[in-house]
């Protein structure tokens, strides 16, 4: 009875999706809990953090009341979780006219664009380099592709990004500074390209190893024997089989990518989650700080789930 198995498969898929979503929300809850208790249990009065050491007791009491810090800790925690669930953490301390989560929402866009475009660029460049380093197109010169990849992988983004910015944006003026609000697509592309460099190098290394493994399998010999051109053999036959490890690399590097995005936003003074966290930290704007950190955790978990779904889509062997 094919109908029954179809329903069973559908139920299984549904169960897997629910389990994933449950696990993802647990991770976000853990992040929120860690941030909440770190800001309240570590030594130091949050009101003193906000106002500085020399504020009067009356001012501190006012800030404590506006943050709800005079309530018992358990009640504060429940209010905080309720605020997250209803997407309302109250107004920002520094700019009382704006809601904290509204500011976080506006910062989420630029950071997602930066990280998303970086993943796409890195996938393109990395897979291209991996194909060039195993395919027949470059002949003996292809070892230089993998040597260059090793070299690029050893140079940290933190050191390379400011130097490239100086050379390309400040001296040669080939690209606009991505922090300039008028820099538009070119600025975004430049920042994403910088962020993509380490990931591309990593993808090229892993992609080369995966393609070399695939190249030993007999079906590629068959494809070549049937008269397939090298491009057809590598792109149509070898590449799809080797995509699995590449998706895994992207998933494991997403955390580093978000960290890199914060560094680049600070370097370019570009709007985004990282800039918002740093500003909120400097001015001790607790509602914004909590919201921004939980939002970046959620962004990370969501992209992780996307990567897992992509992995299942390209490699049927991991579907269970």
């Amino acid at each position: 009875m094919p109908g029954t198995t179809e329903i069973g498969g559908l139920l299984g898929a549904l169960r897997a999706i629910v389990a994933r979503a449950l696990e993802a929300s647990l991770v976000v809850l853990a992040v929120a809990t860690a941030v909440f208790f770190a800001l309240r249990l570590l030594p130091g009065d949050p009101a003193a953090l906000v106002l500085g050491d020399h504020a009067s007791e009356a001012d501190r009491a006012r800030v404590r009341a506006s943050l709800g810090l005079d309530a018992p800790l358990g009640l504060q925690y429940l209010r905080f979780l309720g605020g997250l669930a209803s997407l309302d953490l109250g107004p920002s301390l520094r700019r009382p006219a704006l809601s904290a989560l509204g500011m976080v929402g506006r910062a989420l866009g630029p950071t997602s664009a930066l990280a998303g475009l970086a993943v796409l660029l890195a996938a393109g460049i990395g897979i291209g380099a991996a194909l060039q380093s195993v395919g027949p197109w470059l002949g003996a010169r292809r070892v230089w592709v993998s040597r260059a990849t090793e070299l690029v992988a050893a140079v940290p983004l933190l050191a390379v990004a400011p130097v490239l910015t100086y050379l390309l944006a400040a001296r040669a003026r080939l690209v606009p500074l991505p922090g300039d609000p008028d820099s538009g697509v070119a600025g975004l592309a430049f920042a994403s390209a910088l962020l993509a460099v380490p990931l591309a190098a990593q993808l090229a290394r892993v992609g080369r190893a995966a393609l070399e493994d695939t190249a030993r399998l007999p079906f590629l010999t068959v494809a070549a024997a049937k008269g397939g051109t090298p491009a057809r053999v590598w792109l149509l036959h070898a590449l799809p089989v080797s995509l699995g490890p590449l998706v895994v690399v992207i998933a494991t590097q997403l955390g580093a990518l978000l960290g890199g995005a914060v560094v680049l936003e600070r370097l370019f003074e570009r709007a985004g989650l990282g800039t918002l966290i740093l500003e909120a930290y400097a001015s001790r704007d607790l509602p914004v700080l909590e919201g921004a950190i939980v939002a970046s955790g959620a962004l990370f978990v969501a992209s992780q789930m996307l990567a897992a779904a992509a992995h299942a889509a390209v490699d049927p062997r991991v579907r269970s």
């Binding site: 770190a38 130091g44 050191a159 390379v160 560094v263 930290y281 990370f300």
Partner: protein
């Protein structure tokens, strides 16, 4: 194998010599000399508010290397027995440790550090070290867990249990010595990651209060980019050299592992 440690030794020696030759401690301000080029008093020039760049780069490199190496060693010492014990216990403890490693390794360390440090009013190098160490054990535990899963069925483990050894004895006396070679390979990349993490955190403003860090140096370089790009180059070169020397030093252990594998048993 010893050759792999050479870049690290050379870099540290250079930093010590540069620090000994410096005219002022790294924090001394000399506003009149701010952003001045190299002179007899300041061999590498002076940075923001006239700090001596030679003293700064020397102290920042040495402190960064010390932090990175100690955090990697703490992770190694904590993670290896933990992973071995988890794989030996099997069942839910093994699953729990494996899942915790997955989560910690995938979660952005940088974000985690920012979340914790935002609660500390004056972060010190020690608080940075504690934050990094709280996640640094995960890759070591992961490797130890995988390797112990292979070893736990072998005859010497069975023999130790048969002779009446307890779990702790088997982990520390029988399993851990057999894991060292495999797990130590992680030391270099862990240390390099901590070095870069500390530099990145102080670059964005979460660094130690004393301001002596490679990230701070890089930040000054960015501020003074158009006036004097040499500070930027100095910072970038110092960060690259420090992280690369740690990575290369880590290979000493990989080479040792290959040698012990090749030895006939």
């Amino acid at each position: 194998m010893v050759l792999c440690l050479l870049p690290l030794v050379v870099l540290a020696t250079l930093a010590v010599l540069l620090g000994l030759g410096a005219s002022a401690p790294p924090g001394r301000l000399d506003p009149a000399a701010a952003f001045g080029g190299p002179s007899a008093l300041h061999p590498l020039g002076a940075g923001e508010a006239g700090i001596d760049l030679a003293a700064m780069v020397s102290a920042a490199t040495l402190r960064g290397l010390a932090l990175a190496i100690s955090v990697a060693l703490v992770g190694f010492v904590v993670g290896t027995p933990l992973g071995a014990a988890a794989a030996l216990a099997r069942g839910s403890f093994e699953r729990f440790v494996a899942r915790a490693c997955d989560l910690l390794q995938a979660f952005p360390t940088f974000l985690f550090a920012m979340a914790v440090l935002s609660a500390v009013r004056h972060p010190t190098r020690l608080s940075l070290g504690v934050v990094f160490a709280s996640t640094a054990w995960a890759p070591f535990a992961r490797l130890a867990l995988q390797q112990t899963a292979v070893l736990r069925g072998s005859a010497f483990v069975e023999a130790a249990f048969a002779l009446g050894a307890g779990r702790a004895r088997v982990v520390f006396l029988h399993l851990v010595p057999n894991l060292l070679g495999v797990v130590a390979v992680q030391l270099g990349s862990s240390a390099a990651a901590v070095l870069l993490g500390e530099a990145a955190l102080s670059f964005v403003g979460f660094g130690p209060e004393d301001g002596v860090s490679l990230g701070q140096l890089l930040d000054q370089g960015v501020v003074a980019m158009l006036r004097d790009p040499s500070i930027l180059v100095l910072g970038a070169v110092a960060i690259t050299a420090a992280s690369a020397s740690l990575l290369v030093a880590g290979r000493a252990f990989a080479a040792g592992q290959a040698a012990s594998r090749a030895r006939p048993t």
